[in-house]
Assembly symmetry: C2
Homo-oligomer: 169 residues x 2
């Protein structure tokens, strides 16, 4: 079975190294907390107002302010800042926490469309940081699409497990 | 629905703050790469030689050297060192990557038993670091037990989804 990260690279078109080039610099120190708060606020303002109802409805059971906090705390933690997310919620466990949502290829592309707009609409994010972040986001979005497909392994007609090769930590 | 991290705290007896006290100090800088390699080597040497076949068999499809590398690279990354794990494999996605394994309460306790022995048998790990790491490991083990239970939500007799409240990022 192709690994989650191999699927993510293939579907996103972003190589693993480019996706994790966010780690070659400390984006939190460069951009600061307020920029991450602004980015997530801009992003979810777009998402919750999305004219495409199929996408907007994915978030219908979550409060906008919670979605914003969850997102910027994760970004801050992952991009060199204090572990705000884990202090409050534990491990990110990205795939498991996206389990209730239909993370399709189409949903990934819509998410990325809004994130590109949000990045472009947030002041104080330089071009180099934008490129690093979009590569990370694009790879991660399709990593989650790959993770979403694991769910269907348990939805065979006879309720059998899919035969999944261990992908251990 | 109780959150993954709430279940982890309840079942492990380790509070969230104590579990993530690994972030109050930089354990990688304190202990160094070789100590983490030694720890994971000690741990998996015990696991692959476990006299309890039910536990040893969980790892039967993974190579011991791969298991060691996956583990110490994750520990190094999570405890203040370079992002070795993500550079090679992407997001840890702890719950999803443990999906092929039966992470029961009993398996968590057996894992922790071996880890305690491995910590005690690894030189150059001071008591304070051991306590922080065991709290993190204990909480995380039961976080994964909580994650394991998500699988059964898709294994109802009629193949219906469980009704899971979104637990978004």
């Amino acid at each position: 079975m192709q690994s989650l990260q191999a699927k993510a690279s293939e579907w996103s078109g972003v190589k693993q190294d480019d996706a994790f080039a966010i780690d070659d610099t400390n984006l939190f120190q460069k951009l600061g907390l307020q920029t991450f708060i602004n980015l997530s606020t801009n992003f979810y303002t777009r998402v919750y107002d999305d004219e495409e109802e199929w996408f907007r409805s994915i978030f219908a059971n979550s409060k906008k302010e919670d979605a914003i906090q969850n997102q910027y705390e994760f970004f801050v933690q992952r991009m060199g800042g204090p572990p705000l997310y884990s202090q409050r919620r534990g491990h990110p466990a990205l795939i498991a926490r996206h389990r209730p949502f239909p993370v399709t290829h189409r949903a990934a592309e819509r998410w990325l469309h809004h994130m590109q707009q949000a990045l472009d609409g947030t002041t104080d994010i330089d071009t180099d940081s934008k490129v690093r972040m979009m590569n990370f986001f694009r790879h991660t979005a399709f990593f989650l699409v790959a993770g979403d497909e694991l769910k269907s392994q348990n939805q065979q007609p006879q309720c059998k497990h899919g035969s999944s090769k261990p992908d251990s930590v």
